[in-house]
Symmetry: C2
Subunit: 264 residues, 2 copies
Amino acid sequence: MAQSDPLYQRIASELREQIRTGTIKAGDRLPTEVELRDQYDVSRNTVRLALAMLQNEGMISSVQGKGTIVREQIMLTYHAAWAESRDRNASDQTDAFYAEMKAQGRTGEYRDFEMRIKSASPHLAARLGVEEGDSLVSRAISRYADGEPFSLQDSYYPMDIAQACGLLTPHDVPGGVIRAMAKKGHEEIGYVDELTTRMPTPDEARKLGGLGSGTPVLVYVRTTYSDARPLRLTLTIFAGDRNRVVYEIGDLQAYVPAENGASK
Amino acid sequence: MAQSDPLYQRIASELREQIRTGTIKAGDRLPTEVELRDQYDVSRNTVRLALAMLQNEGMISSVQGKGTIVREQIMLTYHAAWAESRDRNASDQTDAFYAEMKAQGRTGEYRDFEMRIKSASPHLAARLGVEEGDSLVSRAISRYADGEPFSLQDSYYPMDIAQACGLLTPHDVPGGVIRAMAKKGHEEIGYVDELTTRMPTPDEARKLGGLGSGTPVLVYVRTTYSDARPLRLTLTIFAGDRNRVVYEIGDLQAYVPAENGASK
DNA sequence: TAGTGGTCTAGACCACCAC
DNA sequence: TGGTGGTCTAGACCACTAT
């Protein structure tokens, strides 16, 4: 960062460098705003501009009354290619989630189950092959790992399938939804996954445990198909700083999964 | 947003609502900061706090001297499941990218090709099955669509493979890298894709055409394997507001691709 | 030149937390 | 109670764009 840059960017650069090189480690407290103000001989607002920059990069987070700390990153892995596959024991998404958590040495749970009837948005209607405004059954949960929220999931089903398969209940389906649908002749034989990223809405940030302003979400949409029609659309919002989606495809006899890993 | 919220959050909420409902449309100019200051009877700094909030959500972007506008979203789709598959005409990543762009009615190009020798970071070493610090060949490009930068790509190859396959050249490999490797007995028969999201580094933001501070990147890592070993690791940084990664897997005879679509 | 957003100051008071 | 970050004011000057 050149010397002619704005003051606040120069301050941000120096702090960023100290974090990158480990002079200030993850979990450590930064100097207070007043200390930085004196240290750089600027106004407190200028210090706050610098800190806002780092916050928007997801590097630090501030708590009123306590201070500003360098954020730590823990990563969970979501194996998309087999998470819901039919030849595993996992009977539905929830079971698959438990299995993933256990395999990664964490405790998984979900909360706030909700069943609702919703009107199909253009986006949903196009993917589920129904008319805009048609009724859809939505079954939503929040997933937690080690007591912390990690992702929000909302599955949409065409009304006729939901009725035939007993999905109009405000609780878990015994044996899992996928199995229940298969029994009624709606077997999932293919899927299309769409992955995007964006900043969370204030509502999503709240549900995901107060995401810092520098934390994006990973938006994951899976639409599944039988041989005749779309069966289900599952929208998952992952907290971007804590999740990784993985696809393992093809012949992987030479693949040795490394259990760990930062984001880059 | 309750009335007891901070002023700047209340201003942000009202503007957000006006954008959401279409009172202010994509591409439109927002009122100037001075107008908002008078309208809400607050200081200009408070207005700027509100605008910063919306900027961090990716909803608006400001340009010095011009004004503040509501951002438009165009979405490109990257078909990960077949983008590099062997039974398509695409001979390497670059060709595959052209084909995708053409299919979506856009012009694709790439710039700033670079070949470098780099030392393996722990992250790269683990995935490519080499020792930390070993030499790797890096071949990087920036991808543009309709003249705008969309993604940065960097492929890493173990030195012995790069030498055997003629990858130590500062230009394209005729027929494509994947084909060149296959000819020398290094055929890609499986791959592992990892997808994460985070905020861009200042350097990435610059290379991607000055990403707004509310735009995350989609980090896409593909590691490919032969029957014996890892062959290649390709790291792609997508501008998050302009790209979508799609996997089409299984039997999809009932799938009718919808060519369009917003992010949610 | 007039108007826009970008940077910066020097204060003030408040809400929250640890002691 | 003292210190932290959170909010807010009322200015100033600068850099850039349009006309």
